[in-house]
Assembly symmetry: C2
Homo-oligomer: 244 residues x 2
C-alpha cells in the first residue's frame, strides 16, 4: 500500500501517499472521515503555482469536504512543487518561476500530469472509504492548467470547479482544444482584476467550455484574492453534484 | 390605509395596496407572514418589461422570502405595466413595446419611478410587520433600469440583486453616472447569450458599480432563461445581508 504516514484530527483521517506510476513517484494526500467507513465520492484538489498539495486553502477545503459535505478529498503535488522538488526547497516564488519555465519548455508536461492525476485517482478509489465511479475536480490557476485537460479526458469526473485561467500561456492551443470536451457541470471562477491572466481570456475560456450546465462567478480583486464565499460555493456545488 | 384587498395562503399574507403620491396612484403588493408579527426587513421586487408586480417569478420569490428567509416583500407595477395601464390590457408584448417607447421619449421616466419606489417603501415600512431602516432591492432587466438609480439614491437599500442590463439604451448615460454611486453589496446576474442587452455592456455595468462587495454570476442562455439556481442564490444573498 502506498500509505507512508497517517494522522487523525477532528474527525478527519489524513494519509500521506506515495503513488507509483512506472518509474515515477507521485506524492499525494488522501482525506477521509475517521469514523465513517461508507464509501464516499472523492474530489481531486489541484493546487496553484507556488503552493503544494497541503497548502492552507487546499487543506481547509479538503477538511471541509470531509466534515461537512459527505465527500473525501485527494491532492497531489504539481510538477516542480512540494515533495516533487529534488532540491527540497519550500520557497513558493522559486517554484512559481520553475513552473513558468517547465510550462514553456516541457512538451509533455500536461499529458504527464494528467496521467499522474489518473494514477492517483485509481489509487484513491482503491480504498474502501472512497467510492468508485463519479468524482469531482477542484483547481484554480495552475490547478486549471492541469485540471481542464484532466476533466476533458477523464470520464469519471462528474463535476468541476475551475478558473483563474484563460485561453492563454504556452499551452493555450491545448486549452482551446480541450475546453469543448468538458461536458460535466462546471463552476468557473474569475477575479475581475486578475493581474496574471487577463479577464478577457478567462471569459473566452468559460465561453469555450462544452458543458451545457456551467456558471461563472466573478469578484473584484487580484488573482489570489478569491473570497471565502467562493470556497463555500465550491463545496456546496461539489456536494450537490456528487451526493445523489 | 392603502390596503384594497387582502388574502392569506400557506402562511403568507398578501395585501394589495394603492399607494398615493401627489396625484399618482401606485399599484403595489406587500407580502408578510400571516402568523409572525415581528418586524422584518422588506425586499423591493422590480419586475421586468412585459411582466407585472404579481407575475410568476415575482410571486414565487416574494413567497419564498417570507416563508424561508425571514423577510417581507414589496412589488409595484412599472410604468405602462399591470394595473397602471389605462387600457386594462394584460398583453405582455404590448406592454414591452409601450415601455420601449416611453423609455426613449419620457425624460422624467426614471426619476418618477424612483420616487414611486420610495413612496411605496415608506408605506410598506409603516406597517408593523415591516422593519424600518435597512431593506433590499431585487430587479432584473427593467427591474434594474429603475432599480439601479433607486439603489444609488436610496440610503435604506442595504443589499441589491441586479442584472440582465448593461450601460445601454436611451438612459445609458444615467446608468454610467449612477453605477459608481451604488455602494451596498450587490449580486449581478448576466445571461451569457443575452439577445436584448449585449454581454459586453453588462460586464461594463458590473465593472462600474461602486460597491466593493459585489459579485457577478453568469449562465449560458438567453435573456429570459435565468436558472432557478440564481433565484435561490438571490434569496440566500438577500437574507445574509438583511438578517443580522
Amino acid at each position: 500500500m502506498p500509505v507512508v504516514d497517517e494522522v487523525v484530527a477532528k474527525g478527519v483521517r489524513e494519509r500521506r501517499l506515495d503513488i507509483a506510476r512506472d518509474e515515477r513517484r507521485i506524492p499525494g494526500v488522501l482525506w477521509t472521515p475517521a469514523e465513517d467507513a461508507q464509501p464516499r465520492p472523492v474530489v481531486m484538489l489541484g493546487h496553484g503555482a507556488s503552493g503544494s498539495k497541503r497548502q492552507d486553502y487546499v487543506l481547509a477545503l479538503a477538511r471541509g469536504l470531509v466534515r461537512h459535505h459527505g465527500l473525501s478529498a485527494l491532492a497531489i503535488d504539481g510538477p516542480v512543487h512540494g515533495d516533487r522538488r529534488v532540491d527540497g526547497s519550500t520557497d513558493g516564488e522559486r517554484a512559481f518561476l520553475d513552473f513558468a519555465q517547465v510550462w514553456s519548455a516541457q512538451e509533455d508536461l500536461i499529458d504527464t500530469m494528467v496521467a499522474d492525476w489518473r494514477a492517483a485517482l485509481d489509487v484513491a478509489q482503491s480504498f474502501d472509504e472512497v467510492a468508485p465511479g463519479p468524482c469531482g475536480f477542484w483547481g484554480l490557476s495552475m490547478g486549471t492548467i492541469f485540471g481542464l485537460p484532466l476533466v476533458a479526458a477523464e470520464d469519471r469526473v462528474a463535476v468541476a470547479v475551475l478558473g483563474l485561467m484563460g485561453i492563454a500561456g504556452p499551452t493555450k492551443a491545448r486549452f482551446a482544444a480541450d475546453a469543448p470536451e468538458v461536458r460535466c457541470p462546471v463552476l468557473f471562477l474569475v477575479q475581475w482584476d486578475d493581474e496574471i491572466f487577463a479577464r478577457s481570456r478567462a471569459l473566452d475560456l468559460f465561453g469555450a467550455l462544452g458543458s451545457a450546465d456551467k456558471r461563472l462567478h466573478a469578484h473584484p480583486g487580484r488573482h489570489a484574492e478569491v473570497p471565502a464565499e467562493e470556497f463555500e460555493a465550491s463545496a456546496r456545488f461539489l456536494e450537490k453534484h456528487l451526493q445523489y
